[in-house]
């Protein structure tokens, strides 16, 4: 859909060529993905976690315990919303019902930002509920830039988009993933969620150096890091989020701190979810490494 065509008083070129100018989201510290298994412990213990990331779809519900719990969490902690079904790169028409539900949830949770993934989840009315890869072509870039602009206009705020783990590459790609992401951010004004584990996974799967990816991303566009575990299959790595963060990814986190500086960081565990204490150790490690790597006083600024 061409937004400009619906706004006859605005020059089309102005609409299509603009990037949303938005204030960079604040540094939140060191957080954790909110999971139902930890609700009681969080609410009864107020653990030392700076902020929580919620899976948006888990709360896009009519009511009941999930939303009541979310309200209580939001009273105590800063929250960001992280979705899995925006399908920003889909060539299917945008799902405005989904976007309205997302907007309604944001009204309720007042997140510091809303993120999703640079991927698509389905076409022709189907949803495969997966973060599917795209070819890095000019055509795809033009399409995603226009979709991001539309969604940002609809939500009235800049989006944050995450690099996904990919298991394959298309033979018609015309640029690298990092060139695509950088250009997408520049042209649309979206911020970037830099998933350090995903860079590691994709780099292994496609045979490049993760530092090449890391060093090519514009440092001033990154507002969040994800840290997670994966499953190594020998010839490829699958992004399962069911293990602790591995040492190679911790090393890459240090490199990311050196390049991007102080960035809101969180531990993301989606399966085989351990007790909260175990995840708190990983959250503390993100904090301790940042304190060690960043120049003195930089964390507290």
């Amino acid at each position: 859909m061409n937004v400009a065509s619906r706004l006859p008083d605005c020059p089309a070129a102005t609409i299509a060529g603009r990037a949303m100018q938005s204030v960079k989201p604040p540094f939140l510290g060191f957080g954790l993905g909110l999971r139902a298994q930890h609700y009681d412990e969080i609410l009864s213990g107020n653990p030392p976690i700076d902020w929580f990331e919620i899976i948006s779809e888990n709360y896009m519900l009519p009511g009941g315990r999930p939303l009541r719990t979310l309200d209580r969490i939001c009273e105590r902690y800063p929250v960001v919303m992280h979705g899995v079904s925006l399908s920003i790169a889909s060539t299917a028409p945008p799902n405005f019902e989904y976007l309205q539900n997302l907007k309604d949830l944001a009204q309720r949770a007042q997140p510091k930002w809303i993120s999703d993934h640079l991927c698509w989840t389905g076409v022709h009315g189907k949803n495969l509920h997966d973060l599917l890869p795209i070819p890095y072509t000019e055509e795809a870039l033009d399409h995603v830039v226009s979709r991001v602009q539309l969604v940002q206009d609809f939500l009235g705020r800049a989006l944050v988009l995450e690099n996904v783990s990919t298991y394959l590459q298309f033979n018609n790609s015309e640029m690298t993933e990092w060139e695509f992401l950088s250009e997408l951010s520049r042209r649309s004004g979206c911020w970037l969620l830099f998933d350090i584990n995903n860079v590691y996974v994709s780099a292994f799967n496609h045979g490049y150096d993760p530092l090449t990816f890391l060093n090519a991303i514009p440092a001033d566009r990154v507002v969040q890091f994800h840290m997670a575990g994966h499953s190594h299959m020998g010839t490829h790595i699958i992004d399962t989020h069911d293990h602790p963060v591995c040492e190679d990814v911790w090393d890459l986190y240090v490199a990311a701190l050196q390049r991007f500086g102080r960035v809101s960081t969180m531990i993301e565990r989606d399966d085989n979810i351990p007790p909260l204490d175990e995840l708190l150790l990983e959250v503390n490690r993100t904090r301790e490494l940042a304190a060690k790597v960043l120049p003195a006083g930089k964390l507290a600024e």
């Binding site: 779809e57 888990n58 896009m60 519900l61 009519p62 009511g63 009941g64 315990r65 999930p66 939303l67 009541r68 079904s85 399908s87 889909s90 060539t91 799902n95 019902e97 989904y98 698509w120 389905g122 076409v123 022709h124 009315g125 189907k126 949803n127 495969l128 509920h129 997966d130 599917l132 795209i134 070819p135 072509t137 055509e139 795809a140 399409h143 298991y167 394959l168 590459q169 298309f170 033979n171 018609n172 799967n205 496609h206 045979g207 020998g234 010839t235 490829h236 699958i238």
Partner: protein, 261 residues
């Protein structure tokens, strides 16, 4: 159709139908073939959706066991690809699928068990609404009780089961051996609702089920009692009606009582 759109269609078709056309547009990796790499997406699709069904139907999973449940789950995924943006709603069609698809339809306990789990799941995250307090009933003068209209809580729903699925559910929940699946001569009439944050269900007598259903259709209390009188003991109908109403209010199944128009 743009090349990008065509490529996404092919990719999706490759996952949903097993068609390999898309492989011509995918590169081998340094360590692995494109077929294996595309297979990661194919496998993840089926296993993720079956897992979603398993999460929504823990007791049906327990009843069927891993192997049969997985086979059933994959059949459901093949028959009814998701059209929802939220995985929460993917298994909504499972009771209907089990009721209408061989070989599962030959075992009606399965669709009944799935329907009960679905109703409890739906009650769990149904919309919020106030609940009627017993004290509020004191505000209605005796002469207007006949005109009272009752409004069920949004989480409340009725379900009629043709089998002893409720007893099977209860046994599985209590980690006991479930009774043999049995068709019932008379349907089991259940009321499912949420009390605070906990989904509940209980079996209703035939006349209480009738009264609930008609109350949900906005039939006033006085008429409901007249209808109860046709079941048995006409003289005790009003007292029975008041008793049922009392039970619904104390279990938080009503969201409003009003004096009608």
């Amino acid at each position: 159709m743009s090349d990008f759109a065509r490529q996404q269609s092919e990719f999706q078709r490759g996952i949903l139908t097993g068609d390999d056309t898309i492989l011509a547009e995918i590169l081998d990796s340094p360590q692995e073939t494109r077929a294996t790499l595309f297979g990661v997406y194919r496998h993840a699709y089926g296993s993720r959706l079956v897992e979603a069904v398993r999460n929504d139907h823990e007791l049906l999973h327990l009843y069927l066991g891993d192997e049969t449940f997985d086979e059933m789950g994959h059949a459901y995924v093949r028959a009814r690809p998701s059209e929802h943006s939220n995985l929460r709603w993917f298994s909504q069609g499972l009771p209907d699928f089990l009721k209408s698809t061989e070989p599962y339809c030959n075992h009606p306990i399965l669709s009944d068990l799935a329907a009960l789990e679905k109703a409890l799941n739906d009650a769990f995250d149904a919309a919020e609404a106030p609940v009627v307090a017993l004290e509020a009933m004191a505000g209605f003068a005796p002469e207007i009780w006949n005109d009272l209209v009752l409004q069920p809580h949004p989480s409340a729903r009725r379900l009629d089961l043709a089998t002893n699925a409720a007893a099977v559910w209860m046994a599985l929940k209590n980690e006991a051996t479930p009774p043999d699946a049995t068709p019932l001569q008379v349907p089991s009439r259940l009321l499912i609702w949420r009390q605070d944050t906990t989904p509940m269900f209980r079996e209703l007598a035939a006349e209480e089920a009738m009264m609930w259903d008609e109350a949900a259709n906005a039939i006033p209390f006085g008429v409901l009692c007249e209808m109860l009188a046709t079941y048995h003991d006409p003289d005790g109908a009003a007292a029975r009606g008041a008793g049922y109403l009392h039970g619904w209010i104390t279990s938080a199944a009503l969201t409003a009582v009003s004096a009608g128009d």
